[in-house]
Amino acid sequence: MLASLYFSFTNYNMLQSAKWTGFKNYFQLFSDPRYLQTLKVTGIYVVLAVPLELAAALGLALLLNNRLKGMNLLRAVYYLPSLLGGSVAIAVLWREMFGTGGLALQLLTAIGIKLPSLIASPSTSLYTLILLQVWQFGSPMVIFVAGLRQIPADIYDAAVLDGAGRGAIFRRITLPLLTPVIFFNLVLRVITSFQIFTPAFIISDGSGGPTDSTLVYSLYMYQQGFTNLKMGYASAMAWVLLLIVGSVTALNFALSKRWVFYTDVEA
């Protein structure tokens, strides 16, 4: 880590030895239009993908929490995509589904919407990546289900005796008692989604295109560090990423005091 901090102040390119350049890399970053573009793309990605994914995960977890027959099978089906989702194969599938004439477009055509390739169009390509992450809601869902199982049944019984309806039970009991789990999932998903790489790389042939619309942070870091061999520049990017993720996580923790409800604190 310290080595990475050091390199971020140099112009190291693997061929010559590193030369100290002070904050030059950092100044350059913020006047690099492509860098600013990665901030925008990654920002949109995180802000949209994480809440949508968590909402899907929570919704399904609530449905799955009913102890009915076949729930384990259904849970497995929902979980599977999150195990496969980060792979090159799924990114290839996505590329094919949302590319010219792909499955998604065939289905849309069938209901009367005709669209060109969603991946080749800069205005939609990022959304296919967001959809890919939402599709992988299985892992936070499993954590939600485990969290729901920990809510003691007698609290529910008491609420039903008091005449509380379904909506009230959810708002007043389930949701508050689940906030620690929601918080945990939120922190984890934010951190991982800042690091998305494989699907963006595969969908855009490593370019981040079309017109840099899928140029997520790690992809640009890879291009700078390992294609252009600007190791110093890439280290600077890594450090800014660490600061961003760190401050978003810190912000999450700070805000959590307002909405996360810990039973053991109260007791």
Binding site: M1, G70, S87, L93, V181, T198, I202, V245
Partner: protein, 288 residues
């Protein structure tokens, strides 16, 4: 006094229809979720012209061509990539199980200075992005002459660098009653023998979870493999797929789909075998 009875009956009736509608929703959504995967499997048996015209899962005319042609790859057969991947991921899984269980044993049972601080540090690295250290790590492995070998992919696993697994196993070990190691100690066992004869057999589920997760994650990893491996003969499945994609482009979608499906099969089989372990392991670390 007669009030409650009809109410209960009504609720039971409503419960039944609620149950049915819930099943409909859940099964419907599961189908939507699984559809891309099923379509991929089905399309790998469709002739090329059918892939982009038929959105159904079951091919109208069935062909093995894509699997046969795809397996031959471009120059290097896919069997080679699979073998490479199995070597890398198998060793990674082995390393993770050995190293992480030892580290977890130390955290769960042994006393040493600043243990809490070290534990906190270890947890913090779960949160840390591995990408922050990618540049110095690359330079280090380059200096060691390890670039274009599997060492940068495997050796870190033997050094217990994946704190997620350590955490998982610490959680497991803490649940095992201390009386057991006390008894072993009285019988004259040192820490290593307690670890080997008492702990390991008892945390077998956690070991299995770790091994399977380590295998799947290493198998699915792309970033590290892309950075370190450049010789096509050493390519893993992920890199092989990417090379295939680059060289065949839009023309060979059928072959691409067949090989993508093939590349997911090992993960799918592991998932079927260890489904319960995986989901339970994931949920226990998620909480607490």
């Amino acid at each position: 006094m007669t009030g409650p009875a009809p109410r209960i009956r009504r609720r039971a009736g409503r419960g039944l229809s609620r149950k049915t509608s819930m099943y409909v929703v859940l099964v419907g959504l599961a189908l939507v979720m699984a559809y891309p995967l099923l379509w991929m499997l089905g399309s790998s048996f469709k002739p090329d012209n059918e892939i982009f015209t038929e959105s159904g899962v079951i091919p109208k005319s069935f062909t093995w061509d894509h699997w046969i042609q795809g397996w031959q790859g471009v120059g290097i057969p896919f069997g080679r990539f699979f073998l490479n991947s199995f070597i890398v991921s198998g060793l990674t899984a082995l390393g993770s199980v050995i190293a992480c269980s030892l580290a977890a044993f130390a955290f769960a049972r042994l006393e040493f200075r600043l243990k809490k601080v070290w534990f906190a540090c270890m947890l913090a690295t779960i949160m840390l992005s591995s990408q922050v250290t990618i540049v110095p790590r690359y330079i280090l492995f380059d200096k060691l002459g390890w670039v274009n070998t599997y060492l940068p992919l495997i050796v870190p696993a033997f050094l217990a660098t994946d704190s997620f697994f350590i955490f998982l196993m610490v959680q497991f070990m803490r649940a095992i009653p201390r009386e057991l190691d006390e008894a072993a100690r009285l019988d004259g066992c040192g820490p290593m023998r307690i670890y080997w004869y008492v702990m390991l057999p008892l945390v077998r589920p956690a070991l299995a979870t770790t091994a399977v997760f380590a295998f799947i994650w290493s198998y699915g990893d792309f970033f590290n493999q892309l950075i370190y491996i450049s010789d096509p003969n050493k390519f893993t499945v992920a890199l092989g797929l990417r090379m295939f994609l680059d060289s065949s482009g839009q023309q060979q979608w059928g072959n691409m789909l067949a090989m993508s499906t093939a590349s997911l099969l090992p993960v799918f089989i592991l998932f079927l075998l260890f489904q319960r372990h995986l989901i339970a392991g994931f949920a226990t670390t998620g909480l607490k």
